[in-house]
């Protein structure tokens, strides 16, 4: 569904993303993990059309989307959320979600209906009339998800929707994400915390210093010495092996 080849982005002398290849298939939940500053958000920004790639190909449903603007990519069925939540602060939750819903219908009535449905899916029904600026962190993360979902995407790019949440809230949102996948939406997500995505994703890519260092099932990736080193520092893999 999504295929990325040789994707590269440099900021001045710094290579933020370095010839990354990856693939997301239909109905999968694929995660992209890696330490802070690994280039995950930069990669997402390029895929969603917010940043211009220096090199590389991005294909969505077998058509190149390089050079397209974010709204065009969204209209094709791929939508992103933001790590730092970007609510329409002056609007209510319902109005926020309706903005997403309007991408498929010009009718206010059907946009509202769609927004209410989506709110149900992410569990925000009771917050619909509340102002978005009054939401908690967990509420804002859900709102990001809800707005994106309201555009009826084929592929959802979720940028750290679990960051800043407590374990109970994480459990809930994991359930929500699984529910979304069961409705036929493919999901590609960034997560900083490995544990959170272990039981969620079908496949995982690991990014470190802009390069892909591993990929595969979450459990195989978790045992990869390179990955452990990337997360815990040099020598950690050996130390762990000795300990075991």
């Amino acid at each position: 569904m999504l295929r990325v080849n040789n994707l590269t982005k440099k900021f001045g002398g710094l290579v933020a993303v370095s010839s990354v290849d990856l693939e997301v298939n239909e109905k999968e939940i694929v995660s992209l993990i890696g330490p802070n500053g690994a280039g995950k958000t930069t990669l997402f920004a390029m895929v969603a059309g917010f940043l211009k790639a220096d090199e590389g190909e991005i294909n969505f449903e077998n058509a190149s989307i390089v050079g397209m603007k974010p709204h065009q990519i969204c209209q094709r069925g791929m939508v992103r959320t933001f790590q730092i939540t970007q609510p329409f602060a002056g609007l209510t939750t319902l109005q926020n979600i309706m903005v997403g819903a309007y991408s498929n219908t010009p009718q206010t009535i059907s946009a509202r209906k769609k927004a209410e449905e989506v709110a149900e899916v992410v569990g925000m029904t009771s917050l619909l009339s509340q102002g978005a600026d009054g939401l908690t962190v967990a509420g804002r993360k859900r709102l990001e998800l809800a707005r994106a979902l309201a555009t009826d995407p084929k592929l959802l790019l979720l940028d750290e929707v679990m960051a800043g949440l407590n374990p109970a809230e994480i459990d809930e949102i994991v359930k929500v994400i699984k529910g979304i996948r069961d409705r036929g939406v493919t999901i590609f997500l960034i997560e900083h915390v490995m544990k959170a995505v272990m039981n969620l994703s079908d496949r995982t890519y690991v990014l470190n210093d802009g390069k892909l260092i591993a990929s595969g099932t979450p459990s195989s990736v978790a045992e990869n010495p390179q990955v452990i080193e990337a997360y815990l520092g040099h020598g950690a893999a050996e130390a762990m092996a000795e300990g075991a």
Binding site: P70, Q75, V79, P87, F88, A89, L91, P106, T108
Partner: protein, 331 residues
């Protein structure tokens, strides 16, 4: 929805009141003041669509007014083209100018203060041009002849112009009323609140902003025809006066940006203040000093304008924008 319906009831009652009002006012002075209030409210409403709803502040809104005024006036003086049709070409001219200015500035990503200043520069550019070319009458200006009649959009009594301005204002309120309940309106507000998020959710932000400035331009164009047919004279300092640009944003900000009745409330309050001040001390500059003070006070203490101040349920949004700023800096 109920909110909109309440507005509608308010609208119909208010409209009826304003329609029959001239039958109770015999003073030419009050009719003229009311006409001016409607006219400013109308221009404010055009500013409101781009500034209040889409969040793009312009400091050169007068350019559409001036261009529309020149279009219909030149058509009339040079070709004898009747203003009742000329006004539509003025509307087209304003919209076209909006397209050019909007495309050039939004395309290159100008926003905030930069957008405000570039519109100021466009208005100034047009003023200098109008002053230098011959078909506008240059610095001498254009004189229109007084020949009352609907085809000239001129009237024998001030009440005629009162209704002309009232119709314009009704139309502007109808446009914003439609905006409030429409997808396009929601998209503009989304752009105002967070442009990146709007773009991510499939909104063609560039196109929406251009449409908004074109609507503003079209409305300004019609206002130009109104003005030149009422006052029968036009020159570059009038057509492209910064004073009118400021008045458009002033009435809207004072009344309440992004609201249906903000520009009308603002125009009413400011003109009343103006007339009262003039009544006591008739010295040039005084009422404008008061305008400046009101602007600063509103920005500092009533960011949602007078309408916002009366809506008690409106929550404070100041702390939130700070949060947003902070989290951006952290990233």
């Amino acid at each position: 929805m109920s909110n909109l319906r309440r507005h509608l009831a308010f609208l119909v009652l208010g409209a009826l009141g304003l329609i029959i009002l001239p039958y109770f006012i015999s003073s030419r002075f009050y009719i003229d003041v009311l006409t001016l209030i409607f006219f400013t409210a109308y221009l404010g409403q055009s500013w409101n669509i781009l500034g209040g709803y889409a969040g793009q502040f312009s400091f050169g809104g007068v350019m559409f007014f001036g261009t529309g005024a020149y279009v219909s006036s030149i058509l009339l003086t040079t070709f004898g083209f009747p203003p009742i049709f000329g006004i539509f070409l003025a509307i087209l001219g304003g919209a076209f100018l909006g397209l050019i200015v909007g495309y050039m500035s939004f395309r290159s990503g100008l926003k905030g203060s930069y957008f405000a200043l570039i519109t100021l520069a466009f208005a100034e550019l047009l003023r200098v041009l109008a002053n230098s070319v011959e078909f506008t009458g240059g610095g001498v200006g254009l004189f229109l002849t007084y020949a009352p009649g609907l085809s000239n959009l001129q009237f024998e009594t001030p009440v005629g112009f009162y209704y002309f301005a009232l119709v314009l204002m009704f139309i502007s309120i109808a446009i914003v009323y439609w905006l409030e309940g429409s997808r396009f309106g929601a998209q503009l507000v989304a752009i105002r609140e967070n442009e990146d998020a709007a773009e991510a959710l499939g909104i063609d932000t560039l196109r929406c902003k251009i449409y908004a400035i074109m609507i503003m331009g079209a409305m300004g164009g019609a206002a130009g025809t109104f003005y030149s047919q009422k006052y029968l004279y036009l020159d570059p300092p009038i057509a492209y006066s910064i004073h009118l640009s400021v008045e458009m944003l002033l009435v809207t900000i004072v009344g309440g940006m992004g609201t249906i009745f903000g520009p009308l409330v603002g125009a009413f309050v400011l003109h009343t203040v103006n007339e009262v001040a003039r009544h006591f001390i008739d010295t040039p500059g005084l009422s404008l000093i008061v305008y400046g003070l009101i602007l600063i006070i509103i920005i500092g203490y009533l960011p949602n304008g007078l309408i916002g101040a009366f809506k008690k349920k409106e929550k404070k949004s100041g702390s939130n924008s700070l949060d947003k700023k902070r989290s951006r800096e952290e990233s």
